[in-house]
Each structure stands twice: as structure tokens, then as C-alpha cells.
Amino acid sequence: MDSFIACHECDVIHRIKPLPAREAAHCIRCGAVLYRHKPNSLERTLAFAFAGLILFILANSFPFLGLKIGSQVRETTLITGIYELYVQGMQLIAILVLLTTVLVPFTQMLCLLYILLPLKFHRLPKELPRVFRFVNRVGPWGMMEVFMIGILVSLVKLAGMAKIIPGISLFSFLALIFVLAAMIVSLDSHLVWHIWGENQ
């Protein structure tokens, strides 16, 4: 039944047809996107995942924002900010922020590398279905782009209080958001499942 697909929003069955480059197939009843043509999906996703991993390490190794009042300078990395919340007794919030801005994007990139790198070289990674299902499940909880808006709002809030020093990793954060978004857009999960199905 690999040549048919049911719309995930209204359950109508469609026959899968090859699409022209970069087009999407929509459900005729509800209009949901059924599947997209994604050129070089494996290679592109891999490239973005590698780039993302490097940016992620940069973004978390250096402070992203500093504050200067008089002669006092205070800088913060994402991890120290989360630690500060934890120490203050806001453990739940600290865990939530840690998950959405650090752990989920990080595991997402690692898992995709783990799956796609072997596939690129015509091998099957162990436990592919389990790992890929896990990636798809945690995906919605990665919120890097929302965090960026958070940085912007904090900048404006603090602007009146003190002198703001943009940190080195602010720019890596900015780049990371675009790279992560591109990684997710270029991933063709139908292709991954198809390859897995063919090789069983």
C-alpha cells in the first residue's frame, strides 16, 4: 500500500503521484499538505544538521547577552540562565527552558545525523524506526525561534535600565534558528520510511 496515502487531517485516500520540482500535493477535501517534493533531501538535511551542531556548540559556549551598570558587567550564557532559575527554586520552569531550547534541538540534530548519515551511504542504522519516531515526537518541543523573540523583548525591557552588550553567541543563535528551520523543512520523512520499507 506504498502507492497510496491517507490525509492525516481528514482521512481521504489519495494515490501518490510524482510531483514537479518543489511542489506540494494537497488534500482535495481539506487542503492539508500531503507530501512535498524535496530535492536532495538526504544531503541537504545532513548539511544543515552538521552546520546546526557547530552553531549550537558555539551558541552555548559563549555569553549571548551582557549588562553593564556603572562598572559592573554581568554576562550570561543560556545554561547559566537556566541554572539561575533552578537555584531560585523555579525547577519546573528551568527544566522546561532546558528542554525546549537545549535538549530538544540538540537531540534532534544528533538523531537525524545518526539516521541520515548511514542512509546516505546505503546502510541502515540500527533501530531506525524507534529513533526516527522519537525525533518526530520531540520535534514540536524545540523552540529556538521563540527564544529569539524572547531575547528581543528582554533587550527592549533592559534598554532603559542599563547598557546592553550583545554577546558573541547572539549571532550564532540567530544563524542557528535559520539552520534548524531549514533542516526541518528539507527533511523528507516519507523518503526515510520508504527506504526503510524497501530494505526490510
Binding site: 485516500i13 551598570i69 520552569i93 533592559l158
Partner: protein, 210 residues
């Protein structure tokens, strides 16, 4: 609506929610697992309506302390000043920074409420087996799924402020109890949107044509 349309359910098939493979529906319990990816197979999301109702109600309850309790407390020169979400918005309007006021109001007050109201509307219309504007209602569902995450902005702002403003006796910022409730609202509404099954909006159709 078009008569030639066949749903997977009507054809005796189940679409795997994980890899989208169409599988035969059989009675044997061993076959309730997708042969390709190993995910559990469900015709529709299990107990979708009851689960979504429970999560929506829980989110509504948490929405109240999230807005009444302070989310930040600024201690400056020995004086403590607590801010709720709304008082933060009002502060920004008074200081002339209305774009920021608008962002916070939309993300923290308007979107969670809008999302809950849309889900309630969808739940009630599905339970009444309504056939009214099904395509638009599916679109509404798609919107609630996408916008929910943006409510996290305020939580991130609190994190950054707490980390940065820590200037000994001069000024410190602490996170307030409202932040915990607000975080809970965001997480619960995201789960609520995930547990709602948009295919239920269309299930009335088959009942009519069959």
C-alpha cells in the same frame, strides 16, 4: 461534498500516524502494530475528545493563577515590586513601547485564550456532529497547532531577566509563582492541541453518505 472520496476508515484501512503507511484493519491484536515502523495503529487518536476536554479544562484552571500571580519580582534598593503579565503590558504601553506591549499581550494573554476557545468550539461542533464549514474548521485546528508555541516567549524573557539582572544590592529579578502556572498553561494547551484529532471533524460526512 464529492461522492468519489473514500476515507481510509471506510476502506477498512488504518493510516499509520507515524510513517503514514496504509495498513489493513484486522481484528487480531497482534496486527495493531504498523508492519513498517512498529508504531501502534489507531483508527483515530485514542479517546481524543475526552482527553482534549480534560486538558482544555486543566489549562483554563491554570490560566487564572498564571494571570493573577506575579511572574517577576524586581527587588531594587530594598524595595520589591511584583509584576503580573498584564501589569507588564500596561507598563510598556505607559512608557510608549507599544510594539513590545502588543507582542507580550498577543503571546501571553491572547494566544492561549484564543487557542482554548478554538479547541472548545471544535470539540463542541464535533460532538454535535456538525457539518458546518468543515474545511474552515480544519484550518482553525491547523492554526491552533502552529501558534501555541509562541506563548513561550514570556517564559524565555523571565529566564533571561533573572540571569542578567543580578546586581547585588542594586537590583535583582526573581521569577514569581505565576511563571510556573503560565508554563503549565503553554505545555497543557500544546498537549491538548496534539490530542485532538481533526479527522473527527470529517467523520460526520461518512455517516451521511454511507
Amino acid at each position: 461534498m464529492n461522492r468519489d472520496l473514500t476515507t481510509a476508515q471506510a476502506a477498512g484501512l488504518i493510516s499509520c500516524h507515524s510513517c503514514h503507511l496504509l495498513c489493513q484493519r484486522t481484528q487480531r491484536s497482534a496486527d495493531k502494530i504498523c508492519p513498517r515502523c512498529g508504531a501502534a495503529l489507531h483508527d483515530r487518536k485514542p479517546n481524543s475528545i475526552a482527553r482534549t476536554w480534560a486538558l482544555v479544562l486543566a489549562a483554563f484552571i491554570f490560566y487564572i493563577p498564571a494571570n493573577v500571580l506575579p511572574i517577576t519580582t524586581v527587588i531594587s534598593l530594598g524595595k520589591a515590586q511584583s509584576d503580573t503579565i498584564m501589569s507588564g503590558v500596561i507598563y510598556f504601553i505607559h512608557s510608549g513601547m507599544w510594539p513590545i506591549a502588543l507582542v507580550i499581550f498577543l503571546a501571553s494573554v491572547f494566544i492561549p485564550l484564543l487557542k482554548l476557545l478554538i479547541l472548545i468550539f471544535l470539540l463542541i461542533s464535533v460532538q454535535r456532529k456538525s457539518t458546518w464549514r468543515q474545511q474552515d474548521r480544519t484550518r482553525l485546528y491547523r492554526i491552533t497547532e502552529i501558534i501555541g508555541r509562541w506563548s513561550m516567549v514570556d517564559i524565555f524573557v523571565v529566564t533571561i531577566l533573572v540571569a542578567l539582572v543580578h546586581l547585588g544590592g542594586l537590583a535583582t529579578i526573581h521569577a514569581g509563582p505565576g511563571a510556573v502556572f503560565f508554563g503549565a498553561v503553554v505545555v497543557i494547551t500544546m498537549f491538548a492541541a496534539m490530542s485532538f484529532d481533526p479527522r473527527l471533524i470529517w467523520d460526520t460526512e461518512e455517516a451521511i453518505y454511507e
